[in-house]
Symmetry: none
Subunit: 237 residues, 2 copies
Amino acid sequence: MTTEPTILIVDDEAAIRDMIGVALDTAGFNSMEAESALEAHVNIVDKRPDLVLLDWMLPGGSGIELARRLKREELTADIPIIMLTAKTSEDNKVQGLDVGVDDYVTKPFSPRELIARIKAVLRRSTGNLRDKPIRVFDLELDPASHRVTIEEKAVDMGPTEYRLLNFFMTHPEKVFSRDHIQDQVWGANVYLEERTVDVHIGRLRKALTSASNPGINYAGLIQTVRGAGYRFSTKPE
Amino acid sequence: MTTEPTILIVDDEAAIRDMIGVALDTAGFNSMEAESALEAHVNIVDKRPDLVLLDWMLPGGSGIELARRLKREELTADIPIIMLTAKTSEDNKVQGLDVGVDDYVTKPFSPRELIARIKAVLRRSTGNLRDKPIRVFDLELDPASHRVTIEEKAVDMGPTEYRLLNFFMTHPEKVFSRDHIQDQVWGANVYLEERTVDVHIGRLRKALTSASNPGINYAGLIQTVRGAGYRFSTKPE
DNA sequence: CCTACGCTTTACAGTCATTTAAAACAATCA
DNA sequence: TGATTGTTTTAAATGACTGTAAAGCGTAGG
């Protein structure tokens, strides 16, 4: 599954970093910390976080400088930045310091607001690219509408079966062990009984069957490979 | 809720902002101000003005940059922009229009000219995009009269439900998460309880149902996609 | 032909997402 | 101001989905 976004917190005060870190954790993000612009830059280049929370008032070479640098360099230009600033009114000299930052939050801020803004920015930066529909014969999976159809007629299935089918259709003609399927569909570090995968395979097949016309049975596309796992294949077994 | 259009003025000189602000007020527009590209961007995303007056020569040369960014991002791409520029040279015109700006006005300008151009741009953009009624079967939403009808008979609903339906009808056949819907219908960074969206969906469905004839239930067009969000679709679930 | 193993199916109880209803809160208008 | 209308929050009810365990099948290998 999609791993949680990683957020880099850049602030010189440990207390603030911690506070934010906790807020991010509870909201389900991964977080990293840096206390100087230099450290931050290294971290960003190395780890490529999904978003940077950057304190405006870093000692020495200020946060703005870092932001400008990040936005100028191609490698890092598309990593969204949210600035943390002290007070609105004072910082009205902010003007010339415009660097293409994606949003800013003024301290003090509520964790809730911060989280909301982070999510909004992430949504804006990543949400735009959605995949094209995948089609096999008359079976189509369309991520944009989050819908599976057979001959244009909707196939009813649960979220897990949808992810499962999505995984198979994007990786056709290959066998996958149950473990591998677990990692991809449920996410790593989720422990499940092995049989659980079978059960969901079963459910997916049932969904496909009950939506298939007599003629082709789309459940047959999901093939059992005895002793190895499962395979999505257009070729008959 | 036939509010006057809201115009965002982006200029670093307070005197100019005030001058324009007065002109807009007397012409019957609402106005907001921002003095930096950063502030402007945040305002635009949060408040979604109907038009942006953008100074070309913002410190840091970021006016153009902002325009480009706004036009690139889906969320803001259809907000018209009028550039304010001191220079008259042809280059600027070409460049500005390249970025996708809708019009430009060279300083110094008369308030009268500015108003005229604003109206022209608004007419054009609302005329092209927002003014035409959208129809699905016998359900029609007409932005011009701000009215929803089923088989020519008015459907009664609140403003929020109207915006919601408008959003759905202009983005059919796609799933949207609750967060995404919030961004589009309420404005980004308005943080609401997630369930609020559900409640309004519920009310919209109710409104559609009680206006539907036995036969078609238009509430069915708004489909719940469990674990993903909602979708407006003409295809049955 | 029997057994053992691996896969499939079913049933179920717990959990989680969505809906619904109602109350609290805001804004608007006379 | 009080009445009206619309919005948000909250909590409880509903219903769908999930993972597990156990029973049922089929098949390969003896």
